[in-house]
Symmetry: C2
């Protein structure tokens, strides 16, 4: 090892789902939305004046923050915007989790949490979900340095109702509690309604799933203005201009079109219900899905085998090797046509 | 203070130059390029298919990285791309500067360096520039945890030749040395030619100044593939998808058009030469400018007074209250027409 390597921070990075770029693929591996962004985004793209790119964007991201605040009926100072919810959560780990006590998150959960904790040297513990992949709320009554969990959970798609969220908040008034709601729009009820009662609650949402804008990288947190201010101070100590001109222009349009948003969600949820039935008929088992994916296992066919067989047909789903979930496939809800191809494959394979 | 505030990281953020949004302003305060991005960018904007936004971007930023590597005649694994050079440097502070020894950078320099150091708890020392704002290279012979300096320097516009850069490298083989070349294209010679000889050298450049793309947020580092790998590991432990679809598509076009790039630079440098003469004739003094701005002081008129008087006429320049530089204005080189307005104002004011 060279001398200059000694003081380098060495970490094991998060591994995102692969992004194959084939014309005829069926891409059900990264929980993207199969429908295009709102029509307003199309207009904003068409009308975008490229000359504006010579100027810095607004570092306060004022207009986009305001549009998001209006959508959620909160004040602009209750909203923090970042480059996808990953950026928002990374900044939160850096800003909020500086205790010697471990932060807590479920053992089966978004795999980036432990990566962030390792990057910043934050101690953590992972209380185990029960056998049905449900959170055991009593596990979060112990002393800790902060709490984060996704709701619905990833990669299980399991949703916990607001009573459980509030119970965890009630037992943790002295630390920051983050509810990561990347998938909340697919049938869940957001904890944003609790922010006025719990000044230590931060709720994170994203444009990547329900708003068909994974390619734009926009996420945000909603909560107490005091916490938002600390978060902005840290952000402006890292990179002042994170949101580029196009993110701001297109992001405003995407959140304003409520009707298109509701229509898209309804279509995905209808496809999910249909897919559930077909998969159950094929012998798959899965917890009740409340996100835009199904987390499925099969008695007879190992998940890894199915994953590889699908891949050979250019049907991409996600497979994790982690303990307890290494016999499951995480399958994104695509269009009806895409799900037909998937189901068709399974029928053929299991014949 | 609430209990949950106890473990929050509290920092004093960087304060970017203001981004006024007036129709008739003369904006010479944030070193943007007065000319639009390359024609290829215009085409890429027009041809951009908004439907692509539903998909995640390539987390490896492969095509943009390749285009940048080709421009600099290096390999793709020698290039790291981020959301502006601020993002690149922030990630470098986090990744490379983990020694107990202080990192070194000049006392008068990019003011974000100390903000990053404070954010991550990195000890630092700031050797003083000499009275002509030149780096005293011997100050960098002492033991340290890493070195960073801009060349040309900000906000002075002073350029140090590659001999000085190489001398500092020769005396610091055991730590990472970062040369921040945000302004190198306006007449300087890049240290990228030294990367094969110094495996501990990282050179940072940006699209924000010479490529008229401040609004797009693209910066990059060039250097040893081993260091680039460490940097990518840290980046993928923070946020895997930092570069959105538009940044990648437009960024590729911006770096490919060499002719437009050279033309734009020539125009700005010609305007700089003319502005120098006119300002000198008005009694301004300034170090020889080698960036797209002039760092000027006047014997008779205090900088703060001029700054405020200009502001009232919607002519924006940058003024810093820091010691040693609080009687200077940093004036971006705009179009000839914009500089005429500035010079016209000074003539009127000093009559």
């Amino acid at each position: 090892m060279k001398a200059w390597e000694k003081n380098i921070r060495k970490v094991v990075p998060y591994v995102p789902g692969e992004q194959p770029d084939k014309v005829k693929m069926v891409k059900l591996n990264t929980n993207e939305n199969p429908y295009p962004p709102a029509p307003g985004v199309k207009r904003a793209v068409e009308e975008f004046d490229y000359e504006r790119l010579k100027l810095y964007p607004d570092p306060t991201v004022g207009k986009l923050t305001k549009a998001i605040a209006e959508h959620h009926n909160v004040d602009a100072d209750q909203v923090f915007v970042g480059v996808g919810s990953d950026d928002v959560i990374a900044m939160m780990f850096l800003t909020f989790f500086n205790s010697d006590k471990p932060i807590l998150f479920p053992d089966i959960s978004y795999s980036f949490y432990s990566v962030w904790a390792n990057l910043f040297g934050i101690p953590f513990e992972r209380p185990a979900l029960d056998d049905n992949f449900r959170i055991i709320k009593e596990d979060y009554y112990r002393e800790n340095g902060g709490i984060i969990f996704p709701n619905p959970n990833a990669p299980t798609s399991v949703y916990e109702d607001l009573e459980l969220v509030e119970d965890i908040l009630e037992h943790n008034r002295d630390v920051i509690v983050i509810v990561d709601e990347a998938y909340i729009d697919f049938g869940g009820r957001s904890a944003i309604e609790l922010i006025d009662r719990y000044d230590n609650l931060m709720v994170v949402q994203t444009y990547s799933k329900s708003r068909s804008m994974a390619g734009m990288r926009i996420g945000y947190a909603v909560g107490n203005p005091v916490l938002i201010k600390y978060l902005n101070d840290a952000k402006h100590s890292f990179n002042s201009y994170t949101m580029n001109q196009t993110s701001i222009a297109f992001g405003i349009e995407a959140i304003r079109d409520e009707e298109y948003f509701r229509d898209t969600l309804a279509k995905i949820m209808a496809t999910r219900e249909r897919t559930k039935k077909e998969m159950a008929a094929l012998g798959f088992m899965f917890p009740e899905p409340m996100a835009n994916f199904i987390f499925a296992t099969h008695e007879k066919y190992p998940a890894k085998e199915l994953f590889e067989a699908l891949r050979e047909k250019d049907i991409y789903v996600r497979y994790f090797t982690a303990p307890r979930i290494d016999n499951y496939l995480r399958i994104t809800i695509g269009t009806d046509e895409e799900m037909d191809q998937l189901i068709g494959f399974f029928k053929e394979y299991m014949k």
